[in-house]
């Protein structure tokens, strides 16, 4: 039984075939990166996996279970978390509250208990906060904990986005361009975190990335896309020297 498998995935947006017969498989505890020029369909694949809209063809299987047709909130319950390219944080809540929402799938209290704030709810709340604290420590967000997200710089927000995804305790983490908009120091930190996520936390990482240094540094395998289709797959070195990939990025020999 494969850990995560996508078969023949496809979707069209009004005549444009955004994703065309894409198939790949991710093994447990590896870092698998999808690269490709802009418009290649990378984020679309993430949206399809996250079931934000239904694919017109193909299947997505996670731990032997077919994901197609489920409601979006079920994806998180199965153990898949994602970050967004354009940061979809909850702006008018504190960092802590953002991370606590990540724990939503672990809640065990009912509405009535919460209205009355029974001791069970109190215990659950304290437990959630301890769990979130581990993420805060891991990502060194402690001094931002009680501030509103709205005023924070971009680099910090990307980290909070990552933290929120980690707070769900996922088995598979989807990172959408984790280094976009970050300066070299922040990208370096991000690389360390991705390595730690893989090795210390044992989480499988599927990511979309443009920064080739980061890709070569952390990825186990790479998938190259162009115009919605797979053009190469292999180790970072193999893919980067693949003729079709070079042509897609830099143009052919005219």
């Amino acid at each position: 039984m494969s850990f995560f498998k996508v078969e023949d995935l496809g979707i069209s947006f009004g005549g444009v075939r955004a994703v065309d017969a894409v198939s790949f498989e991710v093994n447990q505890r590896e870092v698998y990166t999808i690269i490709g020029p802009n418009g290649a369909g990378k984020t679309t694949i993430f949206n399809l996996i996250g079931l934000l809209y239904p694919a017109s063809s193909g299947t997505i299987r996670f731990e032997g279970r077919t994901l197609n047709g489920l409601a979006p909130h079920r994806v998180s319950q199965l153990g898949i978390a994602r970050t967004f390219q354009n940061i979809e944080l909850f702006e008018h809540a504190t960092v802590l509250q953002n991370l606590l929402i990540g724990r939503h799938r672990h809640r065990a209290t009912s509405l009535w208990q919460e209205l009355l704030f029974t001791p069970a709810v109190r215990r659950a709340e304290l437990a959630q906060r301890e769990a979130v604290e581990k993420v805060i420590d891991f990502l060194e967000l402690a001094h931002y904990r009680d501030g509103l997200v709205a005023g924070l710089p971009y680099g910090v927000r990307k980290v909070i986005e990552l933290g929120r995804a980690l707070a769900t305790e996922p088995k598979l983490l989807l990172l959408d361009e984790p280094s976009s908009g970050l300066n070299p120091e922040e990208t370096n930190e991000m690389a360390f975190w991705i390595e730690d996520i893989q090795k210390e936390l044992g989480i499988t990482v599927l990511m979309v990335e443009h920064d080739m240094n980061l890709v070569s540094r952390v990825s186990d395998r790479v998938l190259a896309l162009n115009e919605g289709r797979v053009i190469a797959e292999g180790t970072p070195a193999e893919v980067q020297s693949h003729a079709a990939v070079i042509e897609a990025y830099l143009g052919g020999n005219d």
């Binding site: 984020t43 934000l52 354009n86």
Partner: protein, 285 residues
């Protein structure tokens, strides 16, 4: 039946007025009905106090209200540019209150009901055994003329195209050199004029009084049914609502007529929220 179409034309015009504003600024103007009411009052003054003939009254009221619309945009709407949509809606609602209050305050207007003289009153045409009221025919004809004028405007006039640009992406419109704020102001002026036109057409039916703007509420179902943000949609929607209402008044028990429009809009919202001509909305992540 004809009455339904004529009434539908009035709804269509009011709906058209705020679809224009919505297209330009993505603001929903809940005071559109009250602008219509104010326009009708200005027309009344033009006709009675100033003694202008019918057609001149129309021009007078249109001009005055266009200026008023522009002023309203400049004073009330511009400060809230960029605020969340719901907040702006509340501002327009507040504006509606102010308009209604002001109208009852002004001497000569107050809370009375007035009749509005038109050259078509009571005239009828007999066509093959069917009696048609000229009044209603006039409403339909004038509405059609206005729609044609607006269509040409948006298609070919530079200002019309600019209005479409500012409605889609304000910041980009700024970069392209479009004076966004001035365009918004002009849109409001245009929309107020359209509302006035509707008020003048409606005045003979409902008479002119400070609460006549509430009919404007029915224009919302019209705009939704036709597809919010679509100019032809608002016309079609208005006509549909007008016809549905008159049919409901004819065939269904009493009282259903008043809510027919709202039942229709709820059904449309549940089945196809984007209406007949509207576009579906999806956020891109």
């Amino acid at each position: 039946m004809l009455a339904g179409v004529a009434q539908g034309c009035v709804y269509a015009l009011v709906a058209l007025g705020f679809v224009l504003i919505y297209k330009a600024t993505e603001t929903v103007n809940f005071a559109q009905g009250d602008l219509m009411m104010l326009g009708a009052f200005f027309a009344l003054t033009g006709s009675t106090t100033l003694g202008l003939p019918y057609w001149l009254t129309i021009v007078f009221a249109l001009v005055v209200m266009a200026v008023f619309g522009m002023l309203a945009e400049r004073l009330v709407l511009r400060p809230v540019l960029g605020y969340p949509a719901f907040t702006v809606v509340m501002v327009t609602i507040g504006m509606g209150y102010i308009l209604r209050g002001l109208v009852t305050t002004i001497p000569g207007w107050g809370t009375d009901t007035y009749t509005f003289a038109t050259p078509f009153a009571d005239a009828v045409i007999r066509l093959g055994g069917v009696v048609l009221a000229v009044q209603q025919l006039a409403v339909i004809a004038m509405t059609t003329a206005l729609c044609l004028a607006l269509y040409l405007f948006f298609r070919y006039a530079k200002l019309g195209v600019a209005m479409q640009a500012t409605s889609q992406n304000q910041l980009a419109a700024y970069y392209m050199g479009i004076p966004v704020r001035r365009v918004n102001m002009l849109i409001w002026g245009l929309s107020a004029a359209v509302a006035t036109f509707a008020g003048i057409l409606l005045a003979p039916v409902t008479f002119v009084h400070s609460n006549m703007g509430f009919i404007g509420l029915k224009a919302f179902p019209a705009a939704v049914v036709g597809g919010f943000g679509s100019v032809p949609g608002s016309i079609v929607g208005g006509l549909i609502i007008g016809v549905v209402e008159s049919l409901a008044g004819y065939y269904l028990p009493e009282g259903i007529k008043d809510v027919a429009a709202y039942v229709v809009v709820l059904i449309v919202l549940m089945v196809k929220p984007s209406g007949i001509f509207g576009d579906t909305v999806r956020k891109k992540v």
